[in-house]
Symmetry: C3
């Protein structure tokens, strides 16, 4: 198994944990938690594949993702107190996850003939759509629409990845540098409380 | 028309009724009710087909589903008091519906080259995703994430179906036995108030 | 650039504005607003393409839609007070937009072998699904499930379009007449407060 694939599985694992925790905050049952854990982990890639036309969608062709997700749901359910002790580690892995998902999204789009700007959008979507679906199913406005720099880190990462690709550096180096850039942006933006400007409209004003 | 197809249409009919009733609880208009009735009935199969790569998605190739759904919405709108008198019958047909949808999902997945465990997931998804979309559009946390044994019955049914298939019994017998198993699990779990354990997390605890 | 394509871009522009305004009512950040603006504008067409099997989905093959959407989000964010001054113009363009989207949906469905009644459904879906996704992401029951004649105008427009097509009039004339019909229905229904009957069910009554 190559290193990048391992990172992909770790990202999947942490995304499934975040889905299970969100489900637990609404006191859902194990099926609800597994369902939300599942779509959090595979939602972004599934949406990307359906829009590009990759059939069947990627997660269905390997059992690895399913095992990793079921394991994440089970662990989160069984030893939930311990899960929170590792929240800094989980935060790091979550950020590695969005980095890996961004790169996979850009690569899959480009290798299926999608143009570069749309490939960047597909990279961001692969990373963020799972979390958007998680919160929507959980009857909340998606967290990443309000909180910190998240998708922006994916955007910068995707552009950096494509730029570095042109320099001819090995792909593994490029992957690691891109993920480090995304981690750096997210960590710095949280430390210094950077966030995007909000859009504000009066509720009464409707088109 | 074969018997299994008739059950499929009955399932579609009852799913559309459940969507229309949900819409009515939010006082939506007839279009909203028809829209939610429609996606409740065809949502699971549509999602399955888009993920597997069956195009155009199944419901678009026959007018039967559309007629059945429009009929269900109209009847529920016109004689709503009477609809509730038949709630026990509707409950039975709804359960037959999830049984039929599970079997169709498993079969379509397998015949499109999907591996067995993923085919089981596709079977469950075909049965439950319509209800999940119904509640999400209706701005509620999906009922089946919290209530009784529902998806679990589909899971057991799907496994039983695949197991019985290996014994070489006729497919019609297998279909009937599988549906009876799903009905039995659901009825018993409601009678004895079985439910899956809940996952519980403090709202303040976020990853 | 032909006239109909210009109308398509104008519709996309106004849909993106409506998404950005909705996001602003929940005080989302710029990414959230851009995300919702985006899916409001391209959501209906994307869903249609995924169901019919047009891959990659239409908006990915041209940069025009992306530029128009980003422009709409930026303008709405920067000069939001002014945006509301043009609300009558925006309302008109929004209605032109649903007309154009309905026609495109019907045409794409028919030219991909979809039968006529389903093509009408695809036309309506292309026009309304973006707004449904916008409100769902924004954690609201979709506005068009409750408010005025909206989808009904698309339904009448789609039928009129197909009927006029049989008379052999030039397609440009047909497009303009269809859009005028949709505008007329929507304006008259708002002026005279026409709306569809509501479906009403007691919350306690569940299937």
């Amino acid at each position: 198994m190559n290193f990048f694939y391992l990172l992909d599985l770790i990202g999947t694992f942490v995304f499934a944990i975040s889905g299970t925790i969100a489900a637990g905050q609404k006191r859902l049952d194990l099926f609800g938690a597994a369902f939300i854990g599942f779509v959090t982990a595979i939602g972004g890639g599934t949406l990307r594949d359906m829009m590009i036309g990759i059939h069947p969608v990627s997660w269905t062709t390997s059992m690895d993702y399913i095992y990793v997700i079921l394991l994440a749901v089970a662990i989160t359910f069984l030893i939930k107190e311990q899960v929170f002790r590792f929240r800094k580690t989980l935060f790091l892995f979550d950020t590695i996850g969005i980095g890996v998902f961004t790169i996979i999204g850009v690569e899959k789009a480009l290798s299926n003939g999608i143009n570069t700007p749309v490939a960047i959008i597909m990279g961001i979507l692969t990373a963020v759509a799972g979390g958007v679906i998680r919160d929507t199913l959980n009857n909340e406005v998606p967290l990443i629409f309000k909180k910190e720099i998240y998708a922006t880190a994916c955007l910068v990462g995707a552009i950096a990845y494509l730029g570095l690709q042109r320099t001819g550096i090995p792909i593994e180096t490029n992957q690691i540098v891109t993920i480090l850039i995304i981690i750096a942006i997210r960590v710095i933006s949280i430390k210094y409380k950077f966030s995007l400007p909000r859009v504000q409209f009066d509720q009464s004003k409707q088109l």
